[in-house]
Amino acid sequence: MKPTLTFLLLGLVLAVMQAARAQDETLNVPKSIEAGRAFSIQNPGSGEAILYIVGPGQVLKRTVQLGTSTSFPAGSVCNAGHYVVILAQASGTTAQSFDVTPANAPASLSFFAKPSRLPVGLHDGITGAVYVFDVYHNLIAAPTPVSFELSSPSGAVQRQLVSTHGGAAWTEMDSTSQQGSSKFVARAGDVSSARIISQVPGDPCDLKISAQPSGKELDLQTAPVRDCSGNAVPDGTIVTFTETYPGGQSTVDVPLKRDIAEVKMPPHDGATFTVASGVVLGNQIRWGK
């Protein structure tokens, strides 16, 4: 059954191609047109026929008078790709094909910026990839210049100009040494797309605590906690205070609040207070004898 069907379809295609070859000189179809542009097709012969245009995701059907030209207004054919024109009349079928290419002017960008959040001072830590589309959302395959721009919170700007390959352009950029939100913009022609990259402080650097008696307890407080580039470590970061004394230990995980972590702990004679945040250790204080 399958081979029979295959031969039948093959025969049909060959017949259409044969008929098309015979009519090549007469059916006047443009070789390629830009997506969305108006165009016309010259129909040979006389009488009435039906003209089909079959393309990606789209079929057009027109009843035409042979010997005249059929016009298609702007916006009739929008999807880029290969189209087949079939002219069906009583005497037979004529076929021809043409290509619809994306419009040259970029109209929209799909911009992938990764990651949305990263530590400061990371080489090639930020990646951006852009796909350039025309007004009908066709990927513009022709090389198109794309500029990438990363504005840091300090106002410094990193720029790179890249040409698309097969519709895509990509780049890598360094995160700056200053924390804050950076604007990452990709631009092609008159269109641009922006993403926000959050540059966050690294691990705490030089973690220091001091102790002050406060009633029956001891008030332990860190100095403002900063990373090695001088950025304030964000509030909510956990700082662990540990008091070790003969026969016991007390621990409190305290979140940073306004750059400092503060806790009250019972002072045991001969106790040692230490501080840590993640894998970073700070100074230690001995209390009493």
Binding site: L109, S110, F111, F112, A113, K114, P115, S116, R117, Y131, S193, R195, I196, V200, P201, D203, P204, P234, D235, G236, T237, I238, V239, G247, G248, Q249, S250, T251, V252, D253, V254, P255, K257, V263, M265, P266, S277, G278, V279
Partner: protein, 375 residues
């Protein structure tokens, strides 16, 4: 009688017989669903009096238990019930008494000390509550002096809380496919150590939230043979502190029952993290944390809720290190009473005796859950 009638009669007899057997010797799983009848009706010895009390607690017969107390003038029946089930919603509020044990400690003519160990079945496993009871003679009867623990009261006050809270807005479903989304938190395993135990292989370690946002974390591990084929894959389940604030470190323990470390060539560790809304509050202080060596090795201490919010369930996860700083054990325990503001609650995490001799230092983390609140 015809054959059908005989069959019906035998089925009825068998059904009645099975019901009787089921009620008299119930399986453990069915015990909570049976209306408990007190078996010990007399209190002619101190042990019998405590046994009877245990049965009444198991049957939730608070009134009967309360009526037998020698010191019932000191508290009400409701206070007795709340003393056992908790004044504030906690793990014990939804538990049943699975079983109990009685040990005589000391006895004289008119007075005796008896230990009553209550094993409560909670949603996270068994919780043991041990009470030393004084039992006094009253004529031919013995009555228990219930060691009533008065509910700690927190003075009326306003505690301002201005710790950070993180909320998350993810990209919308209608956004363009290239639209930006928030990335998952960056987490890292900083320590990993497999050990062979009698019941299988244990993989323990520590995980840090390297990011500046809170993370919900878990860890899974796959034991692999030399040819990289998988022996087994397991997760840390609840032997980990799941919500990690920025730069917070949690221990984890993964159990591989019946596995042999000698069969393992490599272990593939997979930390998992997602961004979740969280609050830096409540802050829990772990006070008087102490490792108690064998016998009865344990990690003990007190949890002090420094915030104003009541913590209904607290989970203590302890990490134990040897003198070189190498991780030797991870142990955990759920605290079965609520943490009221500024009110210390004791915890006691048992440690295996063979591990205890190697322990040199410890670190404890606490994760909390408040009903009606966020994690």
């Amino acid at each position: 009688m015809n054959k059908g009638g005989l069959l019906a009669l035998s089925l009825a007899v068998a059904t009645v017989l099975l019901i009787v057997i089921g009620c008299v010797w119930p399986v453990e799983a069915a015990r909570p669903f049976i209306i408990q009848k007190t078996v010990f009706t007399s209190s002619s010895t101190p042990e019998e009096a405590v046994q009877k009390l245990g049965q009444e607690i198991q049957a939730h017969d608070w009134q009967k238990a309360y009526d037998t107390f020698a010191n019932k003038a000191q508290f009400t029946e409701q206070e007795f019930e709340l003393d056992l089930t908790g004044y504030t919603t906690n793990l014990r509020s939804y538990s049943t008494l699975d079983h109990f044990s009685v040990w005589p400690l000391h006895a004289s003519e008119d007075e005796a000390d008896v230990r009553l160990e209550l094993d409560w079945a909670t949603v996270v496993g068994n919780a043991v509550d041990s009470r030393d009871l004084q039992v006094v003679r009253n004529g031919n009867q013995w009555n228990v002096n219930w060691p009533y623990t008065k509910q700690p009261t927190v003075p009326p006050q306003v505690i301002p809380v201005n710790y950070l809270r993180w909320d998350v807005i993810y990209r919308g479903s209608g956004d363009d496919w290239g639209a930006q989304d928030v990335d998952a938190p960056s987490v890292r395993i900083v320590d990993m150590h497999p050990v062979q135990r009698a019941d299988g292989v244990l993989v323990m370690g520590e995980l840090i939230n390297d990011d500046v946002v809170p993370a919900y974390v878990s860890v899974s591990a796959t034991l692999q043979r030399k040819d990289k084929s998988a022996i087994a894959t397991e997760g840390s389940f609840d032997e980990i502190s799941h919500v990690l604030l920025p730069k917070q470190v949690t221990p984890f323990l993964i159990r591989f029952p019946d596995a042999q470390l000698s069969d393992v060539d490599s272990i593939n560790m997979k930390p998992f993290a997602i961004l979740v809304p969280a609050s830096a509050d409540p802050v829990i202080e772990i006070d008087n944390q102490k490792f108690n060596p064998a016998p009865n090795a344990s990690l003990t201490g007190q949890l002090v809720n420094q915030s104003g919010q009541v913590v209904n369930v607290a989970h203590v996860v302890g990490t134990l290190y040897d003198k070189t700083g190498q991780l030797v054990w991870v142990a955990d325990q759920y605290v079965d009473s609520a943490l009221l503001p500024q009110t210390p609650v004791a915890f006691n995490v048992p440690i295996p005796e063979d591990i205890a001799k190697n322990v040199s230092s410890e670190r404890t983390v606490v994760s909390t859950f408040s009903f009606g609140g966020a994690l």
